[in-house]
C-alpha cells in the first residue's frame, strides 16, 4: 500500500513595524546586543505593554489578503514558561481568540519529479495571530556562560498556521514561497530569511492511504526553502522507514541539521510545557471596528492571484509567464511599467484595450516584455546578486529598447548588445543604437542591391541552389549579413533573397 504524506506549516512572519509590538524600542536588525532593549524589553518591574497599532494593521492586511475572517474581538494571552531570553517569563500571544480566522491561499506547485506538470492548489489557512518574539541566547560568546541579547525581544510576529493540506515537500515549499511572496507583496514583512524575518515550522506525518492521520513531528525554525525541502524529504523517509520496520512515531519537536541533512529530536511530548495560557490582564481585548477594517482594505494592493489572472486573460500570457511575473510585486510592477512604456497611447491601456488588433498588439508586447524580464533581466540580476528594486535599468529604458525591437529598428541580436550596454553604462536605447551603429537596414533598395551583388559574384552556387540544393540558402544569408555588417533586417533579407534566388 502507498504511503501518504501529510504536511502543515506554522510560519512566523516578522511584521515590518519600526518599533516593537508592545513598546517604542527599535526593531532594526543587527544592532549591538541589548542596545534596543528598553524597560519593557527587559521586563523591569512595573512596566506595561502597549499595543503597536501598526502590527494590528499588518495582521488585518494579511487576513484580508487570504480572504480570512477578521475577528472583531480578539484577545491577547500569556504563554507562561521560563527561559533566560524570555524576560517576563511569559510570551504575549493570542490563544483561543486570534485576530485572523480561516482563510486560504492558492499556490502554484512545480513538482520535483521531471515529467509531472505544474498545478494549482488551494491551501487552507487555519488562523493567524499576533505575538511577540523572544530574545536570543548566545551560547558561544562567553566561556562557560550564556549571553542574552534582548534586542529581538518584543519584535512583532504574525504566526500563520495552515491546515495539514500539503502532501509533498514540493507543495510545502510552494506554499511557503507563496506565503513569503504574499507577505512581501502586501508590505507587512521584509521576508529576509537570513535575518529570521520569515521562519517556518513544518509538521510532518505519514499514513497509509485512507488511514487516520499519523503522529506528527514538528521540524522547527527552517529558514530556507532548500533546507525545508531537504528536511521534509529526510523526515518522510525516516518516518516511513521507522513504521515499515515496525516502529512507532513519537510526537516530538525536531531540528534539521543542514550539514548532515538529517533531523534529530529536540524534545518529546513528555517534556512538553504546560503553558498555562490565560488572558493578559495588562491588555484590553483587541476590538477591530468595521471602519478600521475598511481603512486597511483601502491600502491593500492588487493581489498576486488577481494579477496572474489578469495577465493570462488580458495579455494571453501562459500560466508559467504569469507566475514568474508575479513572483514578487516589484517584478510585476516593473513588468507593467515596461508595458506602459511600450504602448503609450491611453486607449491601449489594459482597462480599455479590449478585442481586435489592439489586443493582439498588446499581447505581443506583453509576451516580448515577459520573455525579456523572465529571461535576460532575471538572469542578469541573479548573476550580479541584485534584487529587482536594484535593477540598473529602468522600465522606461527597457520599454524604449523593446519598442525598437517591435518597430524593427534593431534585431534581437542587436538588442542583446543594447541591453548589455544599458546594464553596465546606462543610457537610453536610441542613444546606444546610434552610438554602436546597431540600426537594422530595413531599406529594401539597399538590401536588394546587396543581394544582387552577391548573386552576381556567386553564379556557380546560384546554379547549384536553383538545381535543388536548398541548404545553400543559409550560405547566401551569411554572405548578405556579413556584407551588411549584421545590420540587415533578417526577415526582409530572407524575403528578398528567396525572391531573387528563385530567379
Amino acid at each position: 500500500m502507498q504511503w501518504e504524506i501529510v504536511i502543515g506549516l506554522e510560519v512566523h512572519a516578522q511584521l515590518s513595524t519600526s518599533s516593537k509590538i508592545f513598546s517604542g524600542a527599535s526593531t532594526a536588525f543587527g544592532a549591538e546586543p541589548n542596545t534596543q532593549a528598553d524597560a519593557v524589553s527587559i521586563a523591569l518591574p512595573g512596566v506595561l505593554p502597549v499595543l503597536n497599532k501598526g502590527a494590528v494593521e499588518r495582521a488585518i492586511k494579511f487576513g484580508l489578503a487570504v480572504g480570512a475572517h477578521i475577528a472583531p474581538h480578539s484577545v491577547f494571552a500569556r504563554k507562561n514558561y521560563f527561559y533566560p531570553d524570555l524576560p517576563k517569563g511569559y510570551q504575549i500571544s493570542q490563544f483561543d481568540l486570534p485576530v485572523v480566522g480561516q482563510g486560504a491561499l492558492t499556490i502554484q506547485v512545480e513538482p520535483l519529479s521531471g515529467n509531472a506538470k505544474p498545478y494549482e492548489k488551494v491551501v487552507r489557512i487555519t488562523r493567524a495571530h499576533l505575538e511577540e518574539d523572544a530574545g536570543k541566547s548566545l551560547h558561544g560568546d562567553f566561556h562557560g556562560m550564556t549571553g542574552i541579547d534582548l534586542n529581538r525581544a518584543g519584535t512583532p510576529l504574525l504566526e500563520i498556521v495552515s491546515e495539514p493540506d500539503m502532501c509533498s515537500a514540493a507543495e510545502a515549499v510552494a506554499y511557503a514561497k507563496a506565503l513569503h511572496s504574499l507577505v512581501r507583496w502586501i508590505g507587512i514583512c521584509d521576508g529576509n530569511m537570513q535575518e529570521g524575518s520569515f521562519r517556518c515550522d513544518v509538521n510532518v506525518s505519514v499514513r497509509k492511504t485512507g488511514a487516520p492521520l499519523g503522529t506528527r513531528r514538528e521540524i522547527k525554525n527552517l529558514n530556507s526553502f532548500k533546507f525545508m525541502q531537504q528536511a521534509i524529504d529526510y523526515e518522510v523517509q525516516w518516518q516511513i522507514g521507522t513504521l515499515e520496520n515496525g516502529g512507532k512515531i513519537q510526537q516530538a519537536t525536531i531540528l534539521f541539521n543542514p550539514d548532515t541533512g538529517t533531523t534529530h529530536a529536540m524534545r518529546s511530548k513528555e517534556d512538553a510545557h504546560d503553558y498555562r495560557y490565560f488572558p493578559d490582564p495588562d491588555l484590553l481585548p483587541l476590538d477591530i471596528t468595521p471602519a478600521m477594517l475598511e481603512q486597511v482594505r483601502a491600502t491593500l494592493p492588487e493581489l498576486p492571484q488577481a494579477r496572474r489572472e489578469r495577465y493570462t486573460s488580458e495579455y494571453a500570457l501562459s500560466a508559467y509567464d504569469a507566475n514568474s511575473l508575479t513572483a514578487s510585486r516589484e517584478m510585476a510592477d516593473f513588468f507593467e511599467a515596461v508595458l506602459a512604456e511600450m504602448s503609450p497611447s491611453p486607449q491601449s491601456s489594459p482597462a480599455s484595450g479590449r478585442g481586435g488588433e489592439r489586443e493582439n498588439q498588446s499581447s505581443t508586447s506583453a509576451k516580448m516584455c515577459a520573455n525579456w524580464l523572465i529571461g535576460e533581466v532575471s538572469a542578469q540580476l541573479n548573476r550580479d546578486g541584485l534584487e529587482m528594486t536594484q535593477c540598473p535599468i529602468t522600465p522606461q529604458q527597457l520599454g524604449g529598447m523593446l519598442q525598437r525591437i517591435a518597430d524593427s529598428t534593431i534585431s534581437n541580436a542587436g538588442a542583446k548588445d543594447v541591453f548589455r550596454a544599458m546594464w553596465s553604462e546606462g543610457g537610453d536605447a536610441d542613444a546606444i543604437i546610434e552610438a554602436k551603429g546597431l540600426k537594422q537596414v530595413s531599406d529594401s533598395g539597399a538590401i536588394e542591391a546587396l543581394v544582387d551583388e552577391i548573386i552576381a559574384a556567386n553564379a556557380d552556387k546560384v546554379t547549384e541552389y536553383r538545381s535543388g540544393k536548398d541548404k545553400l540558402f543559409g550560405f547566401f544569408v551569411g554572405l548578405a549579413m556579413k556584407a551588411s555588417k549584421g545590420k540587415a533586417n533578417p526577415a526582409q533579407l530572407n524575403e528578398i533573397l528567396k525572391r531573387k534566388l528563385s530567379g
Partner: protein
Amino acid sequence: MLNSSLQQLGSALRAKKISSVELTQLYLDRIAALNPALNAYITTHAETSLAQARAADARLSGGTAQALTGIPIAQKDIFCAKGWRTTCGSKMLENFVAPYDAHVIGQFNSAGAVNLGKTNMDEFAMGSSNETSYFGAVKNPWDQNAVPGGSSGGSACAVAARLCAAATGTDTGGSIRQPAALCGISGLKPTYGTVSRYGMIAFASSLDQAGPMARSAEDLALLLNTMAGFDERDSTSLQRDKEDYARDLSKPLTGLRIGLPKEFFAEGLSSDVGKAVETAIAEYKKLGASIVEISLPNSKLSVPVYYVLAPAEASSNLSRFDGVRYGYRAPDYTDLADMYEKSRAQGFGAEVKRRIMIGTYVLSHGYYDAYYLQAQKIRRLIAQDFTDAFKQCDIIIGPTSPSTAFKLGEKGDDPVQMYLSDIYTIAVNLAGLPGMSIPCGFGAANMPVGLQIIGNYFAEAHMLNAAHQYQLATDWHVRTPNGI
C-alpha cells in the same frame, strides 16, 4: 504643623511661614526618632528628599507652586522611583534601584511634592498584616503589639504616626482600606483604571489600583487630583476628562441614599466594630441621609474567587523575578534550572510562594476551567450585584474590616483566617469599583475602627463628599495615638 491639613500646609508654604526644607527636615527627624520602633519606612534618603525640598522652595519663591509643592509624601515601596531602591518588601528586590519613575511618582514630582521615603509593605503586596515583609513587620502606632494591616501597612502607620504629611498605597483586595481602618486614617482606592499602574510593581494586574492615604477625606481629594489621569503607558488606564475630586466636598448630604448590605452585618463581624459602624450610620441619618437595606448575595464568594484570580495573575506577574537580569540570584547553582529554583526559593518569602503555587495550579491544564474560568464568571456576578444595588442607593456603607487590629503573630499560622480579614473589601476590587475607609470610632482596647464607603464607578467625588461631611461632624479622624 503635624496636624495641619494639606491645604493648610500648602498655604503655609506659599506664605513662607515654613519652608519645604524645614518641613521635610521635621519629618526626617521624626522618622529618625520613631521609625526604629515602628518600621514604617524601608528606605529613606535624606539628601535626595532635601534636594527635592530645595527645588520646591525655589518653585514656591518663583510663584509656580501647585497645591502639593513642597509637601513631603511617603511612597509605598511598590512604586518605582528613579534612583531609589525599590524593594516591594522582598528580598528578591533588596538591592534593586529603579531606573525610572512610576506614573504616580512622576505625577508627584511634577507637582513639586517631596518624596520622603519608601514605606514598608507586605512582600509583593501579598498580606493583610504587613508581617510578610522581608524587612520586618510594621507596628501599629495605636498599639505596638498589634499589626497595622496590609499590604500598605507602612504608609498607614506613617500617616497615623505623623511620619509624613500623606502617603500613597495600592489596593488589590483591600490593601489601602484595611490598613487605613486598622491605623485610624483615611484611604481611598479609586475606580480601576483611574490611576495609571505604570511603574507600580504588579501583583494582580486586573485588581491592582493605587490610591492616596491621608488624615482626612479633604486631603485624599487633593492627593487624588495629582495621582489620577489618563496615561498612555497603561492600556487599562481610562481616558476621561480631568476632574476635581474636591469639587463636591462641601455639598450637604440631604437626600443621600445609603445602602447597607445585609451580608456585611452578619456573622463574622466583631461586635465592637459593628457598634462603631452603627453609630456612624446614625450620624449619617442626622446629616440628612436615608438608609436602604440592600443585598450583595454573591459577595460571600468574593474571598474564594479572589484567591483564585489574584494568585493566577501573580504567578505569571512574578515570573520575571528569575535572577537573570536583575534582583536576587542564588550564589551557588549547578545549571539553569537550579539557578531558577534556588534564586526564587531563596528570594521569595512563604506567602508569595504559597500564592505562586496556588496560581500555577489554577491555571494548569485540566484545572483552568474549573478554577480560573469559573472564578471569572462569579466575578461578573459579584459586579452585577453592585450594579443592581446602585439602582437603590447612591453609596454603600459598612465596616472596612471585621475586627480592629489583631496582634502581631496572631494569624501567622492560619492563612485563611488572615484572608478573611479582607472579606468586606475584596468584592470592590473584583467589581473595579471605588472604595474608601475613614475612621469611625474605637473598639475594644481603644483600637480604631474603619468605616467603608463604596461608590459606583467614577463616584469618587461623591464618596469624598460623604466622607468629608462626616468628618466635619465628627473628630475620629483627628485623634492621635498615644505618644505620637
